[in-house]
Point group: none
Chain length 140, copies 2
Amino acid sequence: MARTTKSLINTAELGRAIRRRREELELSLRDVADETNVSASTLSRIENGTGKPDADNIARLTSWLDVPLERILNSTREGREETKAIIYYPHETTPEIVEAHLRADRNLTAETADALSELFRVAYSQFSRKDQPKSARKRR
Amino acid sequence: MARTTKSLINTAELGRAIRRRREELELSLRDVADETNVSASTLSRIENGTGKPDADNIARLTSWLDVPLERILNSTREGREETKAIIYYPHETTPEIVEAHLRADRNLTAETADALSELFRVAYSQFSRKDQPKSARKRR
DNA sequence: CTACCGTGTTGCACGCGTAAAACGAAGTCT
DNA sequence: AGACTTCGTTTTACGCGTGCAACACGGTAG
């Protein structure tokens, strides 16, 4: 079972988040490095998902992101139940999120990511148009 | 600047909490070790405040304690309650991420979310199959 | 007393994350 | 043309956290 020693830290997503945010703010690695006291080299590796950052660096970066640390854990709580993956996002800008994910997916080429993004965007807009006849109804 | 280099991790506090809890439950180090997948030796060192545990072990133990990770950190930023957007997921299973996103999207009906999920999944599998040849981390 | 547990601790080799520095690519300037 | 920056990445050397296994202590039998 859990003997697999699977990591509870979601380094991949943390890295993506950092990069996304950093590029959003148009900062260089060294800029962020200065702000966070995380070296640029380490930052680079984290953004690229290489290796696992240590606790201090994770803390510094989540702090910089203004993100609760819990969010980067696959908090299994009582172990058992497979990490039921929780998603946290500000708004529900789904197509954009999907696109960001695709772009960050290292298993895909840039072309594929773009193609999928476009495909999804079109499909989404069509569907959601049908779903939203009127006011934004609270679905739940 | 690296003026402080102070650790954000309050290891002492974590260690005390673990020990207190463990003794409360009258468990041995090895018991907890089995439950948390943290070796007994490391556990001992953590409880005694020797060294700084790595991120995974901190995560495992705070999870076991059912204690918010923030407690363990000397969070630099004052409590910004609101969360900035980030997505965290166990693995990089993109189609699953998309699906989770869709399900969480309050602008979509359940049917739509499912339909989009399926659509995306199919498209993704086809594309990624073609991409698979070799890891191409060329993104720019 | 000796043998056997179970406890917490620690010596040790290994692996790995780190920061600084070196690197190569791409501008930008004179 | 070159010299200088700035960028992200990679190399390098080093420190240290880790698990395993052995340890010392304390009980409890046999």
